[in-house]
């Protein structure tokens, strides 16, 4: 166990050399590389943090924008719905009005058609009744019936309480007696006599004329005065009565 001091010195030098060599070739490069790597990692982390922050900011901005868009969309939707409801109501009202108008028009047309039909029916009925009656009366009428009617006229004239309401200035005017058939002279004389008595003027001229329009009967005319008893008048009265009878039907028809 001897110590060789020369070797010891050499080893000290060797060791110090080794310290320098390792510092030069091992520790410094390795530590530098590790530090560089750490710095790189730190930079990348910082960059990543920056990017994350930016991304977070962008995300928040987008979320905000999205929320705004959503809100806007909801508002638009709500407005559209309201408008749609309004339009629907307006269109329904229009349709209802149009329907009412069309229905009213239609009802009016129906009513008019009904009236026209009723009028036509009435007219035709009247015409038919009148035609038939006239034909019947015309067929039945003859001189004998006419004479009967004339006598009846005579009697009625006699039954009249006052005279003919002839104004004073017309008392002298000629009296015209119309008949559908020619009257015999006797009857003519009786009629003239009765008329003159009623008028109270024996000098008044009495003329006799034939008028087929009367169908059957007698009509006495002086100036503007007319006294008649004939079938045509009866028929006219009957026609008026029938028209009167139709009137409630027309009233009902307008109500319907």
């Amino acid at each position: 166990m001897a110590i060789d001091w020369i070797t010891v010195s050499a080893q000290v030098v060797n060791f110090l050399n080794l310290v320098w060599l390792l510092k030069r070739f091992l520790y410094q490069p390795i530590i530098r590389a590790m530090d560089n790597r750490e710095n790189g990692i730190r930079k990348r982390m910082a960059a990543a943090a920056d990017r994350e922050e930016a991304a977070t900011g962008t995300r928040q901005a987008y979320e905000h924008k999205q929320a705004e868009l959503e809100q806007e969309r909801n508002a638009l939707l709500e407005e559209s719905r309201r408008e749609a409801r309004h339009t629907q109501k307006r269109m329904l009202d229009l349709a209802r009005e149009e329907t009412t108008r069309v229905r009213h028009q239609w009802m009016q047309e129906i009513q008019e058609e009904k009236h026209a039909f009723i009028d036509s029916l009435q007219q035709q009925s009247l015409e038919a009744v009148e035609t038939i009656t006239r034909r019947a009366f015309a067929d039945l009428a003859d001189e004998q019936l006419e004479h009967g009617i004339a006598r009846l006229f005579l009697r009625k004239l006699g039954e009249m309480e006052s005279g003919l309401p002839a104004p004073s200035h017309s008392a002298d005017e000629p009296v015209i007696i119309y008949s559908s058939f020619p009257l015999d002279e006797e009857l003519q004389g009786e009629l003239a006599q009765a008329v003159r008595e009623k008028i109270g003027n024996d000098e008044v001229p009495v003329h006799f004329q034939q008028s087929p329009e009367l169908i059957c009967g007698i009509e006495l005319a002086q100036g503007g005065q007319v006294i008649s008893w004939n079938l045509a008048d009866y028929l006219d009265e009957t026609t008026a009565a029938i028209k009167q009878a139709f009137r409630p039907l027309e009233t009902d028809g307008t109500g319907g």
């Binding site: 166990m1 070797t7 010891v8 080893q11 050399n17 510092k23 520790y27 490069p29 390795i30 590790m34």
Partner: protein, 237 residues
């Protein structure tokens, strides 16, 4: 039987002797330096790195962590010295399994040289850290009466460093040599494996003790202020 590689002499020029200790020290130095150079000439500071760079980074990081753990200080200034102590001793001991290799750490000259380096480095680091005055005051604390004991303590722990490493490595070699003559085949192999473990432990102990001494010198000022005291492992392994 070769007790120490100092006695294996390859050449002599006057007083200068080229013995096995120096030769194998150069070998270890060459392996360490060339290996480091080969790896560190293409260093990558990106996320992808070679296996060898990874190995060296693990080594360096481990040493730095150990230094920081022991000294509670930044490992930067101490890394080259302490790290080189560890790597040199560890590689010297590991190569013991190579036939024909003689560990330089099995020579008392080498271990003395390393201990002297530590002996010089401790006050150097202490003075660099605290200045000469406060560092030297450390020797007369708690009273000037303690000065001789402090100096003796300083010397004796240096001697202990040298002898501990030398004794462990030399004894391993001696034991293997003795066992070879007694039970030649199997048992010496086991002892060689045990020698590898012992070698690694000794490298660790030497480096850690050196660091502890340096730390106690550099943190004397803090200790004087009643702050945390660095751990002082038992000197005897």
């Amino acid at each position: 039987m070769t007790i120490t590689p100092d006695s294996v002499i390859y050449g002599q020029w006057g007083p200068l002797v080229l013995n096995a200790t120096i030769v194998f020290t150069w070998l270890v130095m060459a392996i360490l330096t060339v290996g480091s150079w080969l790896v560190t000439r293409h260093l990558s500071d990106g996320p992808e790195l070679s296996r060898w760079q990874n190995l060296l980074e693990v080594l360096v990081t481990g040493i730095r962590d150990q230094i920081a753990q022991v000294s509670h200080q930044q490992p930067g200034p101490y890394l080259p010295f302490v790290g080189t102590l560890f790597l040199f001793i560890a590689l010297s001991n590991l190569l013991n399994v190579v036939p024909g290799y003689l560990a330089p750490t099995g020579s008392l000259s080498t271990t003395t040289a390393l201990a002297i380096c530590v002996f010089v480095a401790v006050p150097l680091f202490g003075i660099t850290s605290q200045g000469a005055g406060p560092f030297l005051k450390h020797y007369i604390k708690p009273t000037p009466l303690m000065l001789p004991f402090n100096v003796v303590g300083e010397l004796s722990r240096t001697v202990a460093l040298a002898v501990r490493l030398y004794g462990n490595i030399m004894s391993g070699t001696v034991i293997v040599a003795i066992l070879l003559s007694l039970t030649p085949y199997f048992f010496p192999v086991v002892m060689q494996l045990l020698g590898l473990l012992t070698g690694m432990i000794q490298a660790y102990i030497f480096a850690i003790l050196a660091m502890v001494y340096i730390a106690s010198a550099t943190s004397a000022h803090e200790r004087g202020n009643g702050q945390e005291q660095p751990p002082t492992p038992n000197d005897s392994p």
